[in-house]
C-alpha cells in the first residue's frame, strides 16, 4: 500500500508574463489538437486555419463583422466576470440582455424623432441598463437574503425574458411590433435619431463604449472599496462578515451591476446594429457565450476584450468553412478546446504538481 501519489502545491503569484504566455500557449495548443482532428477527418488543417483566419480577420470587411459580433460579447463577458469575482454565477446574461433590448427599443420608440439624438441614445442605453439590473435583482434579493441558488433563478429568468420578447413581437400588437409587416411579424424600427453613430463602416460607437466599460470596471474592481469588499467576500464570506462587511448588500450590488452591463449589451445591439427589437438576431445565445468568454479570460474584464474578439472571429469564420466543405463544427471544437486548455494551463501556472511517497503525505496532513 505504500505507494507514490501526485500532490498539488500552490505556487506564488504568477508574473504578468506568465499570465499572458499561458493563455496564448493554450490557444496555440487548441489549434494543434484541433488540427489533428481535421487531419483525421481528411481535411488539410493548414488550409482550414488559413480560411478561418481569413474569414475572421482577413480583411477590413471581415474585421468589421468580427468587431460587431464581439461588442455584445465583451459586455456579457464582463457581466459574468464581475459576478464571478465574488463566486456568484450569473447565468442570466441572456435574459438581462433581452430585457435590456426591450427597454432600450421601447424607450427609443417612445421618445421618437422629436427629441435630440444625443438624448434619445443616452436614455435608451440607460433604460437598457436599468432593465437588465432590474431583471438581475429578481434573482439577487432572494440570493442575498434567502440563499436561493442564483444559478437556477438567473437561468430561469432567461426564459421569462425570451418569451416576453417573443410575446411583444409575435403574440401581441405591441408598440414594439412593426404594424406594416403583414407577412411575418417583426420589430418596429427605432427612430433614426436613436441609432448609435457608426465609426467604421457598419461598426457603431457600441464597441468603444464596451471597451470603456471594460476598462472602467477593471479599474473599479482593482481600486475601489467596493472591489476590495468583492475580493474579500469572494475569498471568504465569513471573513467578510467578521470584518464588518454587509455580505447581502454586496451580493445585491454585484448582481445589479452585472445585470446592468448585460442589459447595456442588449441596448447597444438594438441601437447599434439591429435597429429594432429583432428576436432572430437578439436571442442567439450571446449571454451564454459570455460565460465562455469570461471563463477563458479568467474573469478579468480587460482580458475579456481580446477573448471576445477571438471568439467572435471564430464564430464568423464558421460559415465560410461550410462553403469549402470543411464542417463548421470545427470552430465549436476549437472554442471548446481553448476553454479546456486555458483552464488546465491556469491550474499548472498556479500549482506545482509532484510525486511523493504516501508516508510524506500522511505527515503533511497531520495536525
Amino acid at each position: 500500500m505504500v505507494g507514490r501519489r501526485l500532490v498539488v502545491e500552490r505556487r506564488g503569484t504568477p508574473s504578468l508574463r506568465a499570465r499572458i504566455l499561458f493563455p496564448l500557449g493554450s490557444v496555440l495548443g487548441a489549434g494543434i489538437i484541433g488540427g489533428l482532428f481535421l487531419l483525421a477527418a481528411g481535411h488539410d488543417p493548414l488550409e482550414a486555419y488559413r480560411i478561418v483566419l481569413q474569414s475572421g480577420f482577413g480583411s477590413d470587411l471581415t474585421w468589421v463583422r468580427t468587431l460587431i459580433s464581439a461588442t455584445p460579447l465583451i459586455l456579457t463577458g464582463i457581466a459574468v466576470a464581475v459576478a464571478f469575482r465574488m463566486k456568484i454565477w450569473n447565468i442570466g446574461g441572456e435574459g438581462q440582455l433581452l430585457v435590456g433590448a426591450i427597454a432600450a427599443s421601447g424607450m427609443a420608440i417612445a421618445l421618437g424623432d422629436s427629441v435630440p439624438s444625443f438624448l434619445v441614445i443616452t436614455a435608451s442605453l440607460a433604460a437598457g441598463c436599468i432593465a437588465g439590473a432590474f431583471w438581475a435583482s429578481l434573482a439577487a434579493f432572494p440570493r442575498a437574503y434567502l440563499h436561493t441558488d442564483e444559478v437556477i433563478s438567473t437561468l430561469m429568468l432567461n426564459f421569462v425574458g425570451l418569451y416576453l420578447m417573443n410575446y411583444l413581437i409575435f403574440g401581441s400588437i405591441s408598440p414594439w411590433r412593426d404594424r406594416e409587416a403583414l407577412s411575418f411579424p417583426r420589430g418596429r424600427l427605432i427612430p433614426v435619431g436613436a441609432e448609435l453613430p457608426q465609426i467604421w463602416m457598419r461598426l457603431s460607437l457600441g464597441l468603444p463604449i464596451a471597451i470603456a466599460v471594460a476598462l472602467l470596471l477593471w479599474w473599479i474592481l482593482r481600486s475601489s472599496r467596493w472591489g476590495f469588499e468583492i475580493r474579500v467576500i469572494g475569498d471568504s464570506p465569513l471573513t467578510g462578515r467578521y470584518a464588518g462587511m454587509s455580505v447581502p448588500r454586496t451580493i445585491i450590488s454585484v448582481l445589479l451591476v452585472s445585470g446592468g452591463i448585460a442589459g447595456l449589451a442588449g441596448a447597444i445591439l438594438v441601437t447599434g446594429s439591429t435597429h429594432s427589437l429583432a428576436p432572430g438576431s437578439l436571442a442567439v445565445g450571446l449571454g451564454y457565450t459570455g460565460i465562455v468568454v469570461a471563463a477563458v479570460s479568467r474573469f478579468n474584464p480587460v482580458a475579456v476584450i481580446p477573448v471576445a474578439v477571438l471568439v467572435a472571429g471564430l464564430s464568423n469564420a464558421g460559415s465560410s468553412l461550410q462553403v469549402l466543405g470543411v464542417p463548421s463544427e470545427i470552430v465549436v471544437l476549437l472554442q471548446g478546446l481553448i476553454l479546456l486548455l486555458v483552464a488546465a494551463a491556469e491550474f499548472l501556472r498556479d500549482n506545482r504538481v509532484r510525486l511523493v511517497s504516501r508516508e510524506d503525505e500522511l505527515e503533511t496532513q497531520a495536525p
Binding site: M1, V2, R10, G12, T13, S223, S224, R225, W226, G227, F228, R231, V232, D235, S236, L238, T239, G240, R241, Y242, A243, G244, M245, S246, E359, L362, E363, A366, P367
Partner: protein, 516 residues
Amino acid sequence: MDGPGDASRSNDAPAAELLGVSKAFFGVLANDRIDLDLRHGEVHALLGENGAGKSTLCSILAGLYKPDAGEILIDGIPQTFHSPRNALAAGVGMVYQHFRLVDTFTVAESLALGHPDASFRLSPRRLELEAASLCDRFGIQLDPQARIWELSVGEQQRVEILKLLHRDVRILILDEPTAVLTTQEAEALFRAVRAIRLEGKSVVFVSHKLREILAVADRVTVLRAGKRVGQTSTANADPAHLARLMVAREFAMPELQEHSTSGEVALVADGLVVAGERGNRAVRDFSLQVRSGEIVGIAGIAGNGQRELSEALAGLRRVESGRIVLNGRDVTLANPMERIRHGLGYVPEDRLEMGVAAGLPLEDNLVLKSYRTRRFSRGPILSSKAVRAWSTDLSERFDIRGVRDGMPVSLLSGGNLQRTILARELSQRPQVLIAASPTRGLDLAAVEGVRRHLLEQRAQGTAILLISEDLEELQALSDRILVLYEGSIVGEVSPGGLDDEQVGLMMAGHLRQTPD
C-alpha cells in the same frame, strides 16, 4: 501481511499491546514512547487534554499512521499496519470524530460500504436483516432503512459503530465519541459500549470528561503532552488525582503579574443565551464583566460554548436572550461593523477561515477592518499606496516574516498568520479585545510574542477576554479566571491560588462551585 484472524487466541495475551510507540509530526513528538495494553473484554479510556496525543495514538492502533518507533501486538502477534484496511483485517476498527458516511445510503447499505466481502450485487434485504440483528444484539437503536442524511449526529455515530461490528472487529476505538452527543445520546452510547464489552470485545474510549470515563471504563490511561503519565483502574480511581495528572505541567513561560488598577467596566454580558449549530443551547445564562486594563480568562475544554460565546460577542451569531454592553452602549443587536466602530477587536479561534481572507495578500488582510477609514480611502477609492505603506510598517512592528509580493496569506506559517491578525486587531487600538485560543498550535517564539502583545495591550487599558484551553497561559496572563462548562460559568478562581486539581475537576464537569 496475514491477519491473525484465525491464529490461535491465547487468553493470556492482551487483545492489543502497544510497546514504546513514538510518532513525531514536523519534529514535534505527538507520542513519546507510549506503552498501552488492552485486555479482552475491557473498556479502556484514554484521558488527556487536547493535543495530549490521544488521537495520534488511536490512529496508530487503527493503522492510519505508521509509528516512527515501537511495536503493535494484536493477540500477542506483532503487526505492521500499512493502512486502516490492514488493521481492520486484524480486527481493529476506529470511529473517527468526522464520520465517513454517504448521505444518500441507507443504514443497511452503509454496512456494505468498504466491506471486503461485498459482492457486486447487493441484497438490500439481507443487509437490512443483518443490520437489524446487530442492532438487536448490541442494543443499538437504528432504523436499517433510514437514509444517512435523515439521521442525527448521534445516530450517524451508531451507524459507524454498526459498520465496525458488522466487520466483526474485536477492538473498537472511539475517538471522543461524546463530543458531538447530547446527554441522552451519550447514555445510549454507554449502554452499547457495555453490551459490546460483554461479548469479550475491547473498546478504547477517548475522552477528556472524567465523569464519563468513570461511568463507562474499566481502566484509564492518562496522556499528557505525548507521554503516558499514569494508568489506573477506574474502580479505585481518585478523580482529583486523575484531574491533576491530566493538567499538571512545568512552568515554561512565567510572565507579568503586577497589577495596575483596572478601570471602568468595558464589556458586560448579562444572561446570554446563544444557540449552537445543532440548535442546542451552546451558551446558557452566561454573565460577566471585563474592566479596562484587565485580562479575564475563560478556562474550559473546547466545545463547551467558547466559539458561540465569542461569535455572539463579536456580533457574528444571534443572541437568543440576554444583553451585551460595550463601553456603556447596548450592542446586543448591533452588527459586527458597529461593534468594530465601538472599539471591539476580535482574534478568532479560526484563523484561516475567519481571521483572514486566506487567498488575499498580506496588505489586504491588514486593512480588512480599517479600509473604510480616511487613512486608506478617498471617497470610494482605496489608496493602494497608503495600504502598502501601512503593511510595511505593521510587518516591521509585529515582525511578520516570509511575505512575498502578492502572496496569499494562506502560505504564511501559523505564527506569522497570527501576527498578521494581531497586527490588524491591535493597530485598531481596541478598547475591548476578545482573544480566542490566541496561541494554539504556535511555536514557542510565536507564543511568547502573542503573550507580550496581550500584556502590552492590557497595560494600555484594553479590556481583554482571553478564551483558552491552556491553563498555564491563563494563569500567566489573567487577572481572574472563569471556568466554562457546557455554556455556563461553573466557577471563578484567582490565578495566584490556582489549584490545578480543582480547575481540572470543574473543566471536566465534576465540580460546580465558586471556591474564592
